[in-house]
């Protein structure tokens, strides 16, 4: 058991970017006989995209983020409510879920996410992230591990969070803006004086799609006009180069 923790710490220490961080915890999840894990960091402003490091199937995570499932996911709801780590699973939850929540759980279960142990991460200003170890089956060895080592698992989650916060902040193209590549592209052209129609022609998309990318980019940047958005993007790019 101690070796799992030590190996995890060694991998974290050597990790340079989010790929390494993912690898560190993937190896750990495997050693604990778990199929997957997910670390979800929520933006403080509630508008930007959450950052996610996980070994969940990509079809599931993109579906999850697209539908903003983090806002209704019962596991995340519980993680926001209390900082106490908890176990969950298809047979553990007697609580009643809303129809959409039940649908989310059913979908997750189709991707093999049925049981888990979640460590909520709260900081001085409230909830900020959650790390979940998940599996598609009940495993006796994991049950034992969770029962006797809940605090150590929690420590692992918190160390992971501390490393992630430190390393992701310094990663180029950092998530402070969290624009999608398409949004950034549209904004780039808009800042060069192109209209939505022109951007649509350049990128081979409809003018309405181009306009909607611009409008979501504005929303993410918390500004009202495309000009403001372009300035924000330019400033951020400059800061990153410095």
């Amino acid at each position: 058991m101690h070796q799992v923790f030590q190996r995890f710490i060694d991998l974290l220490s050597a990790a340079k970017d989010s790929t390494d961080l993912r690898e560190a915890i993937a190896i750990t999840a495997e050693a604990l006989d778990l199929s997957c894990f997910a670390y979800l960091a929520l933006p403080r402003n509630g508008v930007s995209k959450p950052s996610l490091i996980s070994t969940y199937p990509p079809e599931w995570t993109s579906h999850y983020l697209q539908n903003r499932y983090q806002k209704i996911d019962p596991v995340i709801v519980e993680a926001l409510r209390s900082p106490e780590p908890f176990r969950w699973g298809t047979d553990l939850d007697a609580r009643s879920h809303s129809r959409v929540q039940q649908q989310l759980l059913d979908e997750a279960s189709q991707f093999g996410i049925r049981f888990g142990f979640t460590v909520p991460i709260h900081d001085g200003h409230g909830p900020i992230a959650a790390l979940t170890f998940a599996s598609d089956h009940r495993s006796a060895s994991f049950e034992r591990y969770v029962t006797s080592n809940a605090r150590v698992l929690q420590l692992m989650a918190l160390y992971f969070h501390a490393h992630a916060r430190r390393k992701l902040r310094s990663e180029p193209g950092g998530s402070n803006l969290a624009l999608s590549p398409r949004e950034a592209e549209c904004l780039e052209w808009a800042s060069r004086g192109k209209s939505s129609w022109e951007i649509g022609r350049i990128l081979g998309i409809s003018r309405y799609t181009a306009a909607s990318y611009l409008s979501s980019a504005k929303k993410k940047l918390g500004v009202r006009t495309v000009v403001q958005a372009a300035i924000r993007l330019a400033t951020a790019n400059k800061e990153q180069r410095n």
Binding site: P83, L155, L158, H163
Partner: protein
């Protein structure tokens, strides 16, 4: 006794590390009301991700009563990154012979044994552990950010802080940065004042040696 926990041994002491973060929660969040990152009664910050060395003070009953974190000043330090205001326009130290101590925490029952000047022996032990650690790594000094209350305790104990700059109010704390000498002379003084009979530091030895 003082247990040294360095990164290659974190795994062997994972439960003790949890207790240390709980101790830090009790001392810094509950008692001193600092604005620190806490989750579920554990206090952990970004400097804990730099694989520091920790010294933990363990009572005879095996309970953790004190802890301190040590980081080389060649890497990121709290003084440089978090409290540069305490440097009074001087350069933050960056030397293989100086480490930074932070998160110095002691939580002992009121009736715990005292050394000289009304200071708990557990506190003297942790001080002596820091000096022994420093001597074992050829350090000349430990640099630290502390508050005026702790500075008084250090002076009474015989380990005076050499201030870098003036006291500054940070949050609810009167903070000050300075150097603590790590020498045989200091260690001798602390041992006498703390009524310590010999070395306090325990470092894990190779358990995997076949």
């Amino acid at each position: 006794m003082i247990q040294l926990i360095t990164q290659p041994c974190y795994g062997d002491f994972s439960n003790l590390l949890v207790e240390m973060h709980q101790l830090r929660y009790r001392v810094f969040k509950t008692r001193m009301e600092w604005d620190v990152h806490v989750t579920d009664e554990l206090e952990i910050d970004e400097f804990d991700s730099l694989h520091p060395a920790y010294l933990t003070q363990i009572s005879e009953e095996g309970r953790i009563q004190g802890a301190v974190r040590l980081l080389p000043t060649l890497g990121p330090t709290m003084l440089r990154e978090t409290f540069p205001v305490l440097l009074a326009n001087r350069q933050a130290p960056s030397s293989p012979h100086i480490w930074e101590s932070s998160r110095f925490a002691i939580d002992v029952p009121p009736d715990s044994p005292k050394g000289k000047h009304g200071i708990a022996r557990a506190t003297y032990e942790l001080f002596a552990g820091m000096v022994e650690f420093g001597l074992s790594r050829q350090l000349t000094d430990i640099v630290t950010v502390t508050d005026v209350r702790m500075e008084r305790i250090l002076r009474r104990a015989g380990w005076p802080l050499r201030r870098i700059g003036d006291v500054q109010n940070i949050g609810n704390t009167s903070a000050v940065a300075g150097y603590l000498e790590t020498s045989i002379e200091v260690l001798t003084r602390l041992r006498i004042a703390g009524e310590l009979t010999g070395p306090v530091l325990w470092a894990p030895v190779m358990s995997k040696a076949a």
